[in-house]
């Protein structure tokens, strides 16, 4: 019986691990792609000098591991478990020997943090802020008493504010919370994180109060204690599950598969469940085209007109990226570059993206803009997980022969535009036509162009294209 609390903690940790590893892995990939953690003193200082900077830095440091979803899930599981254990230690310190009975309540802040992290814009820095606060406050509660404790608490909170931000003392002042980097939308008040911080203070406060009550009130029977733990687990577990955004997870999965050019996996996924959102349809069409079956099979799946083929670039960080992948694979290198750049600029917390930097380096390399590519590659050399790729790629700069022989860059150079074409926000059939006639081996361009006519019902345009094509073929 005495091991039940530890077993509960372990079960909780495993549940978090499995949830993020199995049910929510692409949320972690999504998070990773909207930051670029640099091992660079200027970068570190720029973060640390802000209120809450230390928590933010630790959050960003851990987020880079989200590139590998299971590692990210493990990190989250460890952090949430640590928060639960420290909450319990704080409760025990406050309440005394009878705290074990209220063990279940120590899960509340961790469950709330789990709930907080369901949102793809919630940042891990918030979790670190809670954890560091507990790490500092618990020993103060443990080792001190009376006015020394009060004084130390005040001093600790002041220091903690610098290190972790307003989580350390949850006053709901909008400007304090929106100024800290707990959430990707800087003007959004992170209510859930505030609730986490508040719950810890409230629980510890109640624990102090209960201590003064007679034993029959402050001491829960083992059965009542287990029931309380079960109640917290079921209620909060349900809350977490019900609020999980599996629809977004699906969209992020398509984006992830497109990033890693997992065309077979995409086909498997769309055959299981036909995507019905813009990103899913864009990725579906790209995968079909990469397999050379877009024109044969596109109407077996949901279509969304041009918006599902090559949608206009919108001013957000998410939707342009799969479109940019299509532009890139087509050989529309300048368009891909612009689209990726716009996506990165739209990241709301002004962070950079490893994925975008990588693509910007690639597009500049293909365009022969080696010095610009070098700048992006130099930045990527300061990262943990993009360094190897950057080191390999930097050797290609200026080496025309190696680039020509490269399976991806060589092919894309051959597929690129041969004639100048001026474009604005909308992709037009003329752009695809020009691309196709630049290199008639570009089957992707051919499929996209004909798909464009099919989706718009532009029979006249199609006939014109075919007559030009036939004319050129006959020469």
């Amino acid at each position: 019986m005495k091991h039940i609390p530890i077993i509960c903690t372990l079960l909780f940790g495993v549940a978090v691990l499995l949830f993020f590893g199995l049910a929510y892995p692409h949320h972690l990939h999504y998070q990773e792609q909207y930051q670029l953690f640099l091992f660079d003193s200027t970068y570190v200082w720029e973060i640390v000098k802000q209120p809450g900077g230390v928590a933010d830095l630790l959050g960003r440091f851990c987020t880079q591991f989200y590139l590998f979803a299971w590692v990210g899930a493990l990190i989250i599981a460890l952090l949430l478990t640590a928060v639960q254990m420290l909450t319990f230690l704080a409760l025990r310190q406050a309440q005394g020997p009878f705290a074990e009975g209220f063990y279940g309540l120590s899960f509340v802040p961790s469950f709330l943090l789990w709930f907080f992290l369901l949102d793809e814009h919630a940042l891990l820095g918030g979790v670190w802020a809670v954890l560091i606060t507990l790490l500092v406050l618990w020993p103060i509660i443990k080792m001190t008493k009376g006015w020394i404790r009060c004084t130390l608490l005040v001093v600790a909170i002041l220091i903690l504010y610098v290190l972790v931000g307003p989580v350390c003392f949850p006053i709901p002042v909008d400007s304090l919370w929106t100024g800290a980097h707990y959430y990707r939308y800087p003007r959004v008040f992170p209510w859930l994180l505030w609730a986490v911080a508040l719950s810890i203070w409230v629980l510890v406060g109640i624990a102090f109060l209960i201590r003064r009550f007679p034993k029959h009130v402050s001491h829960l029977s083992p059965l009542a204690s287990h029931l309380l733990t079960a109640l917290v687990a079921v209620a909060m577990g349900t809350l977490v599950w019900k609020n999980s955004n599996f629809k977004a997870e699906k969209v992020m999965q398509y984006d992830f598969m497109a990033t890693h050019q997992q065309w077979n996996r995409i086909i498997e996924a769309i055959n299981k469940e036909k995507p019905n959102n813009q990103i899913g349809v864009t990725v579906q069409n790209l995968a079909l085209a990469m397999h050379g079956v877009l024109l044969d099979q596109m109407f077996n799946y949901n279509q969304n007109g041009i918006a599902g083929l090559l949608p206009d670039v919108k001013e957000d960080a998410t939707s342009p990226i799969p479109t940019a992948e299509a532009f890139y694979q087509l050989g529309m290198i300048n368009v891909a570059q612009r689209t990726v750049f716009e996506a990165q600029e739209a990241i709301l917390d002004f962070q950079k993206s490893g994925r975008c930097y990588k693509r910007l380096a690639q597009t500049n390399l293909i365009n022969g803009q080696y010095e610009v590519a070098r700048k992006y590659l130099s930045a990527l050399q300061k990262t943990l997980f993009y360094r190897g790729w950057a080191n390999e790629t930097i050797l290609l700069l200026g080496d025309e022969k190696a680039i020509a022989q490269h399976p991806e860059y060589g092919r894309l150079r051959q597929m690129a535009y041969q004639e100048e074409f001026y474009f604005s926000d909308h992709v037009t059939p003329e752009m695809l036509q020009s691309l196709y006639f630049s290199n008639t081996d570009n089957r992707l361009a051919y499929q996209y162009l004909v798909a464009y006519y099919l989706l718009t019902g532009d029979r006249e345009g199609f006939n014109q294209f075919m007559s030009i094509k036939n004319e050129k073929d006959s020469i």
Binding site: P186, V335, E342, E371, Y422, S434
Partner: protein, 503 residues
């Protein structure tokens, strides 16, 4: 650990640490020159290129480096005309302490510093051909302000208007687009910082989109105004303060962008319409200067005496192109330079005079700036359009105004311009001896600031704005946009500026 024990440990430790730091720093700053080396018989490929440049007598240290992927170490010996020498070098970088550098400048005013550079490559030291840095007697303005922004297309992220002390490396923020952005989805753009007569008590910058307005400082007092009127096509865009009166000439523009699939220029910025207005700061009134709906007027600038307003105006398109889409006509849009006399008492403008006929040479001239003595005109020139900072053929042109209008004779600016990369946004220092340009010459994408010495119609080789860490120019993924000289810093803080958005 008790206090005494702590003290016992701390004191020797601190002393040791301090001594080690001192020793290390002295070694790092002043190494020995290599005892033996092989002669390379060429100038060193230092970055930035400061070989044989002429620099102001008050400029910050010209720190430089050898390429890190080719060299293991770099040592430089600087010799002043009186024979004093200092040796620098740490890794591949040469970074000189500010005080020592300024002492050397002071000792070399009107003369030259001799710089000898050694580079270690594959374990062997190479000695390069020494070069000179000529120290002009004329100083450069103490401050420079610019917008730091990614070389963007349409969207943008964090941007700031910063000011840099040119005699040191101190950079501070004038304003940023984060502090007053009340809706990040809409975004906020800050731009077009501008000063009256290089001073900062009368200045302005624009804030677009979220929480928009033009922030005007009038004798040190900050206000936010809306320059849009029913009779103007937009609010004020490109500004120019009248040198003596509280008047600002603006262009009003309907600006659009397009993109190239192949052309390395990548982006085309053009105006669908543009006019000129005059804004009276004291009365908050807007007067239309010119609004020919068939032509585009842009980039106003005052002569230093305030008696002329110079500006650019497009030439009419051939008739057969009148009904064509801008995507077809944009390479045919060319601007000439004009001026109109101005009576500051009545605010009346005289007739238009053609200053420079660029179109007759199949060119387009933009961004005119008159030298403080009124004798020279700088402008940017490319084959077409109004945004040469995105045109690889964009170059700076200088012409003497002491010739008959329209001007024809240009001064040779080969040493100030780059080959095949955009050079634009020229300006004069307040003493007229330093030309500043924004240039993408380094890599074709990221703008950097370059200065050239100018005296009696002669221009010296351009040099890049020095940085404390010379590698910053390699790693900084931002462009220096709209560099403007100032003789004093902006004294209003970011927070003070932001307060006008609370009203």
């Amino acid at each position: 650990m008790d206090k005494k024990t702590m003290k016992r440990h701390i004191s020797p430790y601190t002393l040791l640490l301090a001594a080690a730091v001192l020793l290390l720093s002295s070694c790092a700053s002043h190494p020995d020159v290599p005892s033996s080396s092989k002669e390379a018989k060429c100038l060193p490929a230092i970055y930035p290129d400061y070989c044989d440049v002429t620099v102001p007598c008050n400029i910050a240290p010209l720190n430089f480096m050898l390429p890190a992927d080719e060299y293991e170490a770099c040592v430089a010996r600087v010799t002043t005309p009186d024979g004093k020498q200092q040796i620098y070098g740490q890794g591949v970088k040469v970074q000189m302490p500010e005080q020592e550098w300024h002492d050397m400048l002071e000792a070399s005013k009107g003369k030259s510093l001799k710089v000898e550079v050694w580079g270690k490559k594959d374990g062997e030291w190479l000695s390069f051909t020494p070069f000179e840095i000529r120290i002009a007697e004329e100083p450069i303005d103490d401050y420079l302000s610019y917008r730091l922004i990614e070389p963007s297309y349409v969207a943008w992220t964090f941007m700031e208007i910063a000011q840099r002390n040119l005699t040191t490396f101190e950079e501070t923020q004038i304003f940023n687009n984060e502090i007053t952005m009340n809706d990040r989805k809409i975004g906020q753009c800050i731009n077009c910082h501008s000063y009256q007569n290089y001073k900062t008590d009368n200045m302005l910058f624009h804030v677009r989109l979220a929480n928009s307005g033009t922030v005007i400082v009038n004798d040190g007092k900050v206000s936010r105004v809306n320059l849009k009127r029913d009779y103007t096509i937009s609010s004020g865009v490109y500004p120019s303060w009248h040198p003596t009166a509280k008047l600002i000439a603006f262009s009003t523009d309907l600006t659009r962008q397009g993109f190239h699939t192949l052309n390395p220029n990548k982006i085309e910025v053009y105006d669908l319409a543009s006019d000129l207005i005059l804004y009276d700061v004291e009365t908050d009134s807007v007067q239309v200067v010119s609004n020919d709906s068939t032509l585009l007027e842009v980039y106003p600038t005052w002569s230093p005496d305030g008696k002329y307003l110079y500006y650019c105006k497009s030439v009419p398109l051939p008739e057969e192109m009148h009904d064509k889409d801008i995507r077809t006509t944009y390479p045919k849009i060319q601007y000439n330079l004009y001026r109109r006399s101005f009576d500051v008492a009545t605010h009346n403008f005289g007739d238009e005079e053609l200053v420079y006929d660029a179109a007759s040479q199949d060119k387009s001239a933009t961004l005119p700036r008159i030298s403080p003595d009124g004798h020279y005109l700088l402008f940017a020139q490319g084959q077409y359009g109004c945004f040469h900072i995105r045109h690889n053929d964009g170059d700076i042109v200088c012409m003497s105004l002491d010739q008959e209008l329209p001007l024809t004779q240009a001064i040779d600016l080969t040493k100030a311009n780059s080959e095949g990369r955009p050079d634009s946004y020229p300006s004069w220092s307040s003493n007229g001896h330093w030309i500043m340009v924004a240039s993408r010459r380094d890599d074709g994408n990221f703008c950097r600031v370059y200065f050239s010495y100018f005296k009696n119609g002669k221009v010296e080789k351009a040099f890049m704005l020095p940085q404390e860490d010379p590698e910053l120019n390699t790693f900084l993924l931002k462009s220096y946009n709209r560099p403007e000289f100032m003789v004093e810093p902006v004294k209003i803080s970011v927070t003070e500026f932001s307060k006008v958005f609370d009203k």
